[in-house]
Every structure is written in C-alpha cells, then in structure tokens.
C-alpha cells in the first residue's frame, strides 16, 4: 500500500489536474449528500411572479419559466444524476465483471456466449440502443439505469475477461485450487478481488459517460419526468428559451453536467495513472 501511496503522490505532483479533479469530486459528493439542506429554496416551488428572472443576489442562477430557483434545482439535482450514473455503473460492473471473469476463466461456451452478447450490444450505436431499451421497458428512472448499464456491459466484460484469462494460470490461483477450493470459490474469492483495481479504473472512466448518457436520455424526454429536478431535463426546458435570450435556464444545469463529467473523466485518467501506469496513452 505504501508504494502505491507514494506513487499516487508522484502522479498528483506530476499532474496537478488530477488533484483538481479530486477536489471537484468532493464538491459534487457534498452536493449529492447535503443538497436538499443546502438549497436556499424549495426546488419544486413555483412562483409565477418571479418567472424567468436573470441571475441576481437572491437567485444566484436566476429563475425558470415557473419562477423556481435554478440554483436550488441544480444543487438538488446532483443527487439524482449521480445516483443514476452510479447505480448504472455498479450494475454494469456486476454484470460485466462476473460474466467477463467467468468467460475468461472457464473459456469454452461460457466465453462464446458472453462474447456474442457483448458483440451484439456493440453492434448498435450505444446511445441509440439505450433509447430503444428505455422506450421498450417504459419511461422510468430505473430503466435509464438498466439501459445505461447494458450499453456499458461489453466494456466491463471485455476488460474482466482479459484480466481473468491472464490470471487463470497464475500461481496464486493454482495454489487456491490445490488447497481444495471449488471453481466458484476460486473465481469469486481469488480472481475477482485481483482484478478490482483495474475495474475501479474502468468504473471511474465510464462514470462520466454514464452521466452523459442518462442526461441525454432525459433531455429527449425519457426517464425522469417534470417537475423533478435533473440536469438533462432542466437543459431541455431551458432550450425553449435560448432563442429568446434567457440563457441562464439551460446554462447552469448544463454547466453542472459538464463539470461533473469533466471531473469524472479527469479522475478516471488520474486513477489509471496511479493504479496502472502502463496503461497511460
């Protein structure tokens, strides 16, 4: 652990941007956890007299067409956006890592099936497939999570498969097998923990993409429904006012979205440098 920490310090000093990303991440985490208490206004409370006001001291980010405080809405939306993205990443990880590890470890038809499944998903433009899945499963938030997990599945499965394949013959696996562990125990108890670091990198790298994907779906009216506060749908609402010059309605949720994705992308890159310097491109 100590060399890893030292290496982390080295990477951070080499690349201060990663430090910035960690800072941003803490900020988003705080907003997700404490958003509802920090918000100055009720995010759902409309107020016709205050509609479409530009940013001011009272309303930092202005108000929307229903007079709701945009700052409060952006803040409160953090939780929903991050939850959707996080849940989908976890789900993709569970599906992908398990089937990938099994494919790499057992080979044969397990490998065939997982490979074919991944290939089939990859045969679609991913966002389009996600649209189709949400449309078919129904217009619910949970389905956004499922769709996003499905389109991320092949990435996880492939990485996990490759890693498990390499480790199948490794000494510690052999030792575990010889000491009488069943295949499943070896798989879950010995191989899976060993590929965790690389899966963590994968997760932070796909987190940004998951946020974008979920926001994109709600932008076109799938999943999250008004009046819930969510960045994608808020940008969609603001879109109607851009042409008349009310920029703030779309700008602030859009900027939050962008910053969150930017943060996770940098974080993923940084984490990759820390955990596996060889993978750096």
């Amino acid at each position: 652990m100590l060399p890893l920490l030292r290496h982390a310090r080295y990477v951070l000093s080499e690349n201060p941007v990663t430090g910035l990303a960690f800072g941003l991440f803490a900020l988003f985490l705080a907003a997700a956890l404490f958003g509802p208490w920090l918000a100055p206004y009720d995010p759902l409370q409309s107020n016709a007299t205050m509609a479409l006001k530009p940013p001011s001291a009272a309303h930092w980010f202005g108000t929307d067409q229903l007079g709701r405080d945009i700052f409060s809405r952006v803040l409160v939306a953090t939780r929903l956006d991050l939850t959707i993205a996080f849940a989908s990443v976890i789900l993709a990880f569970m599906l992908g890592a398990l089937s990938g590890v099994a494919a790499g470890y057992f080979g044969g038809w397990t490998d065939q099936i997982v490979g074919r499944l991944a290939d089939t998903i990859m045969a679609f433009p991913l966002f389009v497939l996600a649209m189709g899945i949400v449309a078919a499963l129904g217009n619910e938030v949970i389905n956004i999570v499922i769709a996003t997990a499905i389109i991320n599945f092949p990435l996880y499965a492939r990485v996990a498969r490759a890693e498990a394949n390499v480790r199948r013959e490794a000494g510690f696996v052999e030792a575990a097998r010889l000491s009488g562990n069943g295949e499943t125990r070896v798989l879950l108890g010995h191989i899976l923990p060993n590929i965790m670091p690389i899966m963590m990198v994968q997760m932070s790298l796909t987190m940004g993409y998951a946020i974008l994907n979920a926001a994109g779906l709600s932008f076109i009216g799938l999943g999250v429904r008004p009046p819930d506060a969510e960045w994608g749908i808020m940008v969609a609402e603001g879109a109607n006012f851009i042409q008349s010059g009310e920029w703030w309605i779309a700008l602030f949720p859009g900027a939050a979205l962008m910053l969150a994705v930017f943060c996770f992308n940098l974080l993923g890159d940084g984490l990759r440098d820390i955990i596996d310097p060889r993978m750096r491109t």
Binding site: G216, L266, T281
Partner: protein, 337 residues
C-alpha cells in the same frame, strides 16, 4: 479485393443477426400489452385486437419472429400512428438529412483532431500536448445537446452570425433538386450557390457541436499511435537516411500512424450517431433522430423501432466499410487476403 470484401461481409452477418434479434426482443419487452402500444393511446379494444392479429401477437414467439423477419425482408417496418405513413418511407426521406449532418460533422472532427493529435505527439510533453489533452477531455465532457444550445445562443442570439437553429435551409429558400439528398452536394450540382451557402450555414452549428464531442477519441488515438510510430525502428532508419523532417513525419510516420485511427472510426461513429439524435432535437433538424424523438413523445412505437433498427444496420454497414477501407489502405491486409 473481392476476397477481402467477402471476408469482411462474412464477419458482419452475426452482427446483423444480433441486431434483428435484439430489435425483435425490444418490441416484446413493451410493458403491458404491445398491441395496445402499437395501437396508440386512444385506440378502441377492437382496434387493439386488430393490431394484435396484424402483428401476430397471438402466435407463438418463434412464429412471431419468423413473421418479423419476413416483414423486414420485405422492407416493412409498420406504419406511424401519427402520420399513418409507412415507417420505411418516412425514414428513407429523412435519412439524407441525418447522413449529411453526421458525415459533415465527421469531416470537421477529423480535420481538427488529426492535426491536433499529430502536433501533440511531435511536441510530446510540451504545452501543446497538455493543451490537446485538456481540450479533448473537455470536448467529451460537454453534453452534445448543451454544446449545441450554447453555440446557438452565442452565434445566433448574441452575434447573429448563424441563422435560426431550425432546419436544413432558410425558410424562404426551396430545397435543391433531389439528386443525392445532401443539400450541399445537390445545390452545387445544380449550381445554386445561394442554396449551398444557406445549407452550409444551417449545417455549421449542429455539425460543430457533434464534432467537438467526437474529437477526443480521434485526437487521442492519433497522438498515441503517432508516438508509437515515431519511436519505431523504421523511423530511425528514415532519420539515419537524412530524410527531411517533413518526409519523416508525414510520409513515413503519419501514414503508418493513421491506420489505427481508421479503426477508431467505428467508435467515433457510435458517438456520432448517438449525438445525432440529441443535436437534431436541439436544431430542429429534420432527420431520423428528431423523427424518433417525436415518436417517443407520442408513444408511437413503430417509428422508434424502425429508427433503432435503421441506426444499427447503418452502424454495422459503416463498420464494415471501415474494415474494408482499412484492408485497402494497409498492404499487409490487402495482399494477404
């Protein structure tokens, strides 16, 4: 060459089969009664029953699948509820708009990303390199619909350099004669510069929004593969032979480095085709993405399904083309097959 084409076609077949199966499954996943879905919200019980028989939903799954494939083979994707038109014709008339936008965006992205990646590699570790990394990371982080809105706000509302973000052409102009379906090309072919100019102005912002989004994979791949090639033995030979830096970087290094970039185009297209839906929504672009989004809003299911299928087939075809082009460009593949 024919061998190459055939071998590539063979690899596409499993993908097509997968796509057909998945799109079939998607219709069976519809919550509740698919027939009710396809019949629309206001349909009477008789209408629903009629749809059920028409879709064959009263038959067994394998039978339904056979019927589904049969329909596909005949080019039957069902009818749109809101317009009553066959989905196939509607998609066919709207496809050129989407294709023009996507391809134009790709050209813009390639034109920016490849020089950027080459520069970052040649000047590795300098500020140019870092700038490239930040720009591309920022690029993928920008939600494409948000970029589109920002660009529209700045260039249409504030600066008034760009036309209103609605459609492919100024509303006072009539479309050019339909030759390729691409307004830029058709207007040129018919010698109508005014139309060309208007089409180009309409195209600029949506295309740039999409291009920004797809810069990153292209630029990063170019940089990485350029670095690898610059460090390889044959570049050392080229330098030891005194070839000029230009020849070394462009004729020797770049031509080799571009090969893996061609492979990346597949992923770039996945990005672009997805972004296409969002950008069409923002710019009221009359392509298949907007068509699908409108259908989604009215729970008009057949167009959505047709759209997903079209996009997937398009994507598989694009990947096939990319593979084929790669084979043509790389003599090692071309001569071996």
């Amino acid at each position: 060459m024919l061998n190459l084409l055939l071998s590539r076609l063979a690899t596409a077949i499993p993908s097509i089969v997968g796509v057909v199966v998945v799109t079939f499954m998607l219709t069976r996943l519809l919550p509740g009664d698919p027939a009710a879905y396809f019949a629309g919200l206001a349909a009477s019980p008789q209408a629903i029953a009629e749809i059920r028989t028409k879709l064959g939903l009263d038959k067994s799954l394998p039978e339904q699948f056979v019927a589904y494939v049969g329909d596909l083979v005949q080019g039957n994707l069902g009818n749109s509820l809101s317009t009553g038109q066959p989905v196939v014709t509607e998609i066919a008339t709207r496809l050129p708009a989407s294709a023009e936008l996507t391809l134009f965006a790709l050209i813009v992205a390639v034109a920016i990303a490849i020089p950027l990646g080459v520069l970052a590699a040649v000047k590795q570790g300098t500020w140019v390199d870092h700038l490239c990394r930040i720009v591309t990371t920022a690029g993928v982080s920008l939600p494409v619909f948000f970029t589109g809105l920002l660009l529209a706000y700045v260039f249409y509302y504030l600066l008034q350099w760009a036309p209103a973000p609605t459609g492919r052409l100024d509303i006072f102009l009539s479309p050019p004669p339909d030759i390729t379906g691409f307004y830029l090309i058709d207007s040129m072919l018919s010698g109508n510069l005014e139309t060309f100019w208007s089409a180009l102005r309409q195209l600029a912002l949506p295309a740039i929004s999409m291009a920004i989004f797809s810069l990153a994979p292209l630029a990063r791949m170019t940089r990485g593969s350029m670095l690898a090639v610059l460090g390889s033995d044959f570049i050392r030979t080229a330098r030891a032979s005194g070839l000029s830096p230009r020849t070394v970087v462009f004729t020797y290094a770049f031509r080799n480095a571009v090969l893996p970039v061609i492979t990346t185009l597949g992923m770039v297209f996945s990005f672009l085709l997805g972004a296409n839906v969002l950008v069409e929504t923002v710019f009221a672009w009359p392509g298949i993405g907007l068509y699908a989004v409108n259908a989604l809003i009215t729970s008009d299911y057949a167009p959505v399904q047709g759209f997903v299928l079209t996009m997937a087939v398009l994507y598989v075809t694009l990947n096939l083309t990319i593979d084929f082009v790669y084979g043509l460009v790389d003599p090692r593949v071309r001569l071996e097959s």
